[in-house]
Symmetry: C3
Subunit: 679 residues, 3 copies
Amino acid sequence: MTGSDGSGGTPTLAALTDEVGLLYGADWNPEQWHPDVWREDVALMRAAGVNLVTVGVFSWASLEPRPGRFELDWLDRVVDLAHDHGVLVDLATPTASPPPWLGVLWPSARAVTADGVRMSHGSRNHFCPSSPHYRERALAVTRVLAERYGAHPGVRMWHVGNEYGQVCWCEHCAHEYRAWLRARHGSLDELNRAWGTAFWSQRYDEWGQVIPPRAAPYLVNPTQALDHRRFASDQLLALYLEQRDVVREHAPGVPVTTNLMGFHHPTDYRRWAPHLDVVADDVYGDPADPSDVVRVALTHDLARGLAGGAPWLVMEQAAGAVNWRPHNVPKTSAQLRLDSLRAVARGADGSCFFQWRASTAGAERYHSALVPHAGPDTALHRAVVAHGAELARLRRVVGTRVTARVALVFDWPSWWAAEEPASPSQRLRALPQVLAYYRPLWEDGVAVDVVGPDADLDAYDLVVAPQLHLVEDADVAGLRRVVERGGVLLLGPFSGVVDRDAHVRTGRFPVPFADLVGGSGEEWVPLPDAGVDLRSDLLGDVRVHDWAERVRVDDGEAVAAVVGGDLDGCAAVVRRRHPGGGQGWYVGALLPPDALAGVVRACLDAAGVAGPAGVRAAADVEVVRRGDVTFCLNAADRPRTVHLTGTADGWHDLLTGADVAGDVPLAPHGVLALIERTP
Amino acid sequence: MTGSDGSGGTPTLAALTDEVGLLYGADWNPEQWHPDVWREDVALMRAAGVNLVTVGVFSWASLEPRPGRFELDWLDRVVDLAHDHGVLVDLATPTASPPPWLGVLWPSARAVTADGVRMSHGSRNHFCPSSPHYRERALAVTRVLAERYGAHPGVRMWHVGNEYGQVCWCEHCAHEYRAWLRARHGSLDELNRAWGTAFWSQRYDEWGQVIPPRAAPYLVNPTQALDHRRFASDQLLALYLEQRDVVREHAPGVPVTTNLMGFHHPTDYRRWAPHLDVVADDVYGDPADPSDVVRVALTHDLARGLAGGAPWLVMEQAAGAVNWRPHNVPKTSAQLRLDSLRAVARGADGSCFFQWRASTAGAERYHSALVPHAGPDTALHRAVVAHGAELARLRRVVGTRVTARVALVFDWPSWWAAEEPASPSQRLRALPQVLAYYRPLWEDGVAVDVVGPDADLDAYDLVVAPQLHLVEDADVAGLRRVVERGGVLLLGPFSGVVDRDAHVRTGRFPVPFADLVGGSGEEWVPLPDAGVDLRSDLLGDVRVHDWAERVRVDDGEAVAAVVGGDLDGCAAVVRRRHPGGGQGWYVGALLPPDALAGVVRACLDAAGVAGPAGVRAAADVEVVRRGDVTFCLNAADRPRTVHLTGTADGWHDLLTGADVAGDVPLAPHGVLALIERTP
Amino acid sequence: MTGSDGSGGTPTLAALTDEVGLLYGADWNPEQWHPDVWREDVALMRAAGVNLVTVGVFSWASLEPRPGRFELDWLDRVVDLAHDHGVLVDLATPTASPPPWLGVLWPSARAVTADGVRMSHGSRNHFCPSSPHYRERALAVTRVLAERYGAHPGVRMWHVGNEYGQVCWCEHCAHEYRAWLRARHGSLDELNRAWGTAFWSQRYDEWGQVIPPRAAPYLVNPTQALDHRRFASDQLLALYLEQRDVVREHAPGVPVTTNLMGFHHPTDYRRWAPHLDVVADDVYGDPADPSDVVRVALTHDLARGLAGGAPWLVMEQAAGAVNWRPHNVPKTSAQLRLDSLRAVARGADGSCFFQWRASTAGAERYHSALVPHAGPDTALHRAVVAHGAELARLRRVVGTRVTARVALVFDWPSWWAAEEPASPSQRLRALPQVLAYYRPLWEDGVAVDVVGPDADLDAYDLVVAPQLHLVEDADVAGLRRVVERGGVLLLGPFSGVVDRDAHVRTGRFPVPFADLVGGSGEEWVPLPDAGVDLRSDLLGDVRVHDWAERVRVDDGEAVAAVVGGDLDGCAAVVRRRHPGGGQGWYVGALLPPDALAGVVRACLDAAGVAGPAGVRAAADVEVVRRGDVTFCLNAADRPRTVHLTGTADGWHDLLTGADVAGDVPLAPHGVLALIERTP
């Protein structure tokens, strides 16, 4: 399955990949360079196998140097040049970074912090998302571009805005926030109920009194804050949509997207994904942290989940170092390749970079690029060329999918609600929890789809919800059905606590699921530093730190229980086996990694799920099966071995063209892309 | 002695406790709940022995949903319901948290930071204490309540505002600050002298130039800052007083109070206490820190001191966890009881909690309550019920006092002055010093009154002033008289340094007391990290870190002296024995705990003071005698033993009803309340 | 050499020191005290040998208590009193700290932060450097003083402003910034090129759009920021110059200065120094940090470099403790003397202190002074008197110079550019690098001149540029000539990277010097925490942390190379020996101290430079030769020994008057000032 061909239906990535195979490219910002350099650029692109460039992301001031005066000739030349050299163009609306004139003409078009500080130009993304002036001018430049390039044969994708994320607390936004709240809550009475304004004397008597959560002397109303996060994400989505509509009008059939940023806190990408023709993600793992590869893999599975399982695209990654960390360890050439192939293994049909040629000026001049300051005769650029060649050898995976029997539930509003100030403990953090439950699955090579709580879960044998703190009534049934139909549901601590308005559900927790898991709790117990001891036949005896809960066993079993102290006898892990074969598990503690892995593996066993057949990998080796290709990716900077079985005829490595079998060595950060040989 | 009966004279707590014994209760915020829940509430209160509820603290928006439109019917029902069920009502003026409409109608009624950021509603306590609009509306709602409920038989106490603490730097406040300064200093010349404006060219030429210490590029004038702290405290007190006066007019004879917060930095409670009919304190010890019980005990002794020795009231404490720390370890049931009884032992005639029923919404939904989210069938609520029963068994202590022969001097302006920026060292901190000198007294079970420097000290054999950095001329004589009349005076480092305007007293320090202690200094010496060695017959040889002083012995003795280095031979502890038996001690160093305990115990010996007779307690066991009841409180989470002697007939434990003698075991966090058996 | 006599030519320090010898003095702020105290002051000054006082630094409000009303009588008395007692007066323009009335009358005369917070009075230095009102009033008070005291025989130096350093982001400053940018860049097109505004859509279309780098959502344009630093320094210099011109008009021949602050980030003192008649520096080493003496020595060499080798002046230092650190360890009496003599050894012709008499009020009341709160009968003041006497014994050094064959290149714009946010690593810091390369020179007693990259380097055999990140085209030639003429050039990591506009130079780095050093790089490599191993015959095998570079050897030699990992074989230190005897060295790593010392010492050997002859000092003993006096300063707080040879007749210690030879003991923090005995 590969998606549409572009004629009618929803435009997809397949329109491009069917033509050129896996996409390989970069942001190309030629306005920084003399046209002579452009010609060198396209020659180098061809030599490197680059087949896609994103153009114009930051070009507004170059395209419209003063209000209403457009200068597009240079862009004509750039687009034609790429097209003439067989490089597809992903054309951006340049609306992320308005020219200085916008905020000078209309100061209210600049964003304001919760403290009332108005942003200035001089950086990027300083606009207010609710400013009528900004939106009008952004649509105007979008329209000019769409009219000019909508039918250009070289422009094969559109890239609206860039890394949406700005949040503003100004009066424009307050106005829009109120409109959004009216739509959500219907009446002021309902808003007062939802926000719990009876506490702390916050009752609103007129809509005009309602404001974003601005600077206040103490804790802000948590539902006011939660709704503001929802609004802020929706407001940015509205910007995307209105520009997309202009593009689509002039470029029907051409896919439109914007670049997401994985687990990006301000934007609920589940609400965005249905509106993106292509899920495109910016991926910046930290080469200084060897364990960060697990987080990156999880992020890829999220991207694939947002795409509904269809191929997605790495829109940005670094070829070497980034520049925005305090200490920016560069990727090695082996890591450049490893990281790119990890994304392909997990469903990406393209691997693009920021940016093509390293800037000599501006705030990102120390960010690596495919062509370094020292030019093409460099280790980095040689790796770029080599990688282009091997991506061409992976055309077989284009359009194929990863099949998963395990779902990991993740939800932005739940993340937001769980990490409001004034929760029981800041040591219980949503993303680390999600990652902790994901890690054993990654280690075992078990494919995982990251889905929302409202997803159709019927295809999954195991559903893991590590930190579903907020769960809406409407989603409870779907999660319960997992167990009812014989599947396994695993819930992490502090789950099921609040409803859509972040109100605590009264009763014994996890309130909507306590009967499913056979146990129930009455108190969250952030622990003194010494922690507490657990006893468990399954997990062994371990010490738990930071978090436990006062949980009793009802009609389930205690898989692990606290020994000693005030919580003596409380369950730390409780499970109920249901007559129909289903199992409900609840973990009421922050388990140490090995114990948590024991829980996850017991759930895998109960669900009958295991890693890919025929491949037994050493520690640190990530195994992913996509379509009929099994990728083995060595996350370690030392050699590892993979043991292959499972087929009488042995395996074939698409990257090297070699046939392999038995114990196969993997170089540090090395990769295999295997298919089973057929006789 | 028990205080007044409420008919004429100053209203006191006795009016309530004579009727119902020790008070036991909570903040009740029923506006969060359906009236059906109210009826369950009062039934549960009766079952738990709750006899006092604080109502209406955050009800302004419920009582006056729009300006001038009052809706009090619901409160009528609440007050009647409590009254009908025998629960006394402490009715609050809801003025801590104004409704949104106040700050929308009058933006200047919202507080402004030193940086000029104006606070918004959405939290609580966002008002400007000097805003005429706020004050007018606060008095109006107070008047409406006082008129309606002043004579209600169920309303037995009034609770004005809540946790006063907001400070504001706005123009209203600047205006009020100038008025306050005029009253304090009389003339601009005197202000210029007091503030030392000859330095750094700060001389004021007109009153209108004088402002609060707003954002500035470098250190702010310390006396300007000190006077602003004084003003800010007085300004909040003025709010209390004007509301109290309205209440008193309509509810003569009913005690009026507000809830203090122990060693709360912004408010000089010594100036507040004379205006409170009941000293009521909010107490939030940290269950995660086993040593915090000493600080809490000290805080209780402060509350008792503020009450002039009369019974006081714990107005708020947590039953389990709070929600505002980064990591909120809950109290165990044993700690709930232990903490409550500690307050009673140290003079409280009541023990109240925040809040009755756990909120499901709002910023405090994760703060524990007497009725948890999981309902009354929980460990916590069962402990609440049990504790209500045992409080009833302690009626004997109602109205009784703790008798102390040791005074600990503590003063807010001295605290403020000592911790201004640009002092010799931030490692010398006022509260830790006070606590360090208090700890040995706590360990020995020696009763201590925490008093101001202007207190009548004649009743005390030992007066300890650990950190009396600022001392007014008027208070010097009282402190000197301690020694002159044969008592012992112990002064900590950096004491007696500045006068009321925070001007350094010139001469050899401690300037006003150097002759009393028989030694004098010329330089404060924050130490290099290695510290310095002391030699002392009394204390042994110890190493001192962070702070010493260049002190010479005059006509006293060096109890400890520095050995080696640049300070070789300087006194670290100096003492002078006076002919009349008095002793003056000065400690010119930050002594390690054991050495400091040696100093304190030598002073106790010299003063002839010791802990309670007949009780020899193990470490961690706090012993306090109130009236004729000796409380033994085990601060450890493991068993301890108390050895009882001193009476031929043994002892009787009021809590268990058992007779005990000899070695008596104390459970972890356990408590005894003993009286001597009479034959 | 020694400078002018004051009659015509440029006024210099010699006009004073020829008369009174080494200067010794303090800031005298008598407006804080009753005139009776003034008389005690001058008597104590005479007794202590004090011969210079700085008067009036913070006196604006005392001199002009309201706009236009001047009260100078008190200053007449002060100046006359000093003069009558033979104490020279350095008269300040009081413009650093405007009176409250200035900012009240003209709020726009108060500075604004990048976040838009306007400063208030109450501290000091709150003015906006671009405010026309401030500048007009500052000139007015300056003119009044200059007219009144320009010809006063007691006023022998003028001190304009104080510790210039304030930066402001207000509209006045934006206007001035634009004017400055016009002058620098000529056209908006050129500004757009220089700032690289093609990136991130920052192109300016009108001058009015150009602003200082105010609060923005993300990284600010680095050249906008760099130019703003340049502007801010120049703007402060303009204030100095316009006041100086007024002074000079009325006090021709009297030297004018202001007090610098060593490596003070906001002010490019290389641009200031040519306009100062006397280089005067404020020096606040940290007595708590034994290694800080090396930094202080470097700072003195910077001051001497700014003075072009001529004598300079310590304008401020502490006699004991300062008050602005979190923990202010005081100097001992031995350190007071040691620090003062270190400055003299390194070229200072005077040693002054802040301040004469300790304030009792105001923000600096805990800053030490020559007369402590406890009065003159104190250890500190006795040391002051003793030191005055020994300074008189050093008259021989007045006007003499330190001769250096090593230059250390330091540049403010390079510092600014290297530490912009978003560089490869914040662990590579400019000043620590400079200090690291300086330390071995300090240890070996090698004299070093700290110079700018545009200096005439022909006199130096070794030129060390530890961190010349930014180097202008115009300065490249001078640095290259060092090698071309047979000298040694040593470049540290990340050098030669950017041009004057902070644009990265494309090509293999260090781009302008790669051929000189015989190696070239293509990637900066901030290291993972484990670091990398180096192998080196010269330096031994060492482990490098934090920073290496991907450097290859071209036609030079690898002095040290990486072993293992991704950088295996890359050069860490590369050197090229040139036919004419010159050598170019490039260090592409953050070497550990011993290895770096090895590099520096190899460069010293190659250049034929060594420490002072005849003196072999133990570790911690700093040896400096000034004129014909060799100073040995013991930085340790324990005894050390110096071994003297080199003259048959032995040596003579000017401080004690003793003849010494062979092994001479140095007390803790002790000093020798030796001359060779002549037969």
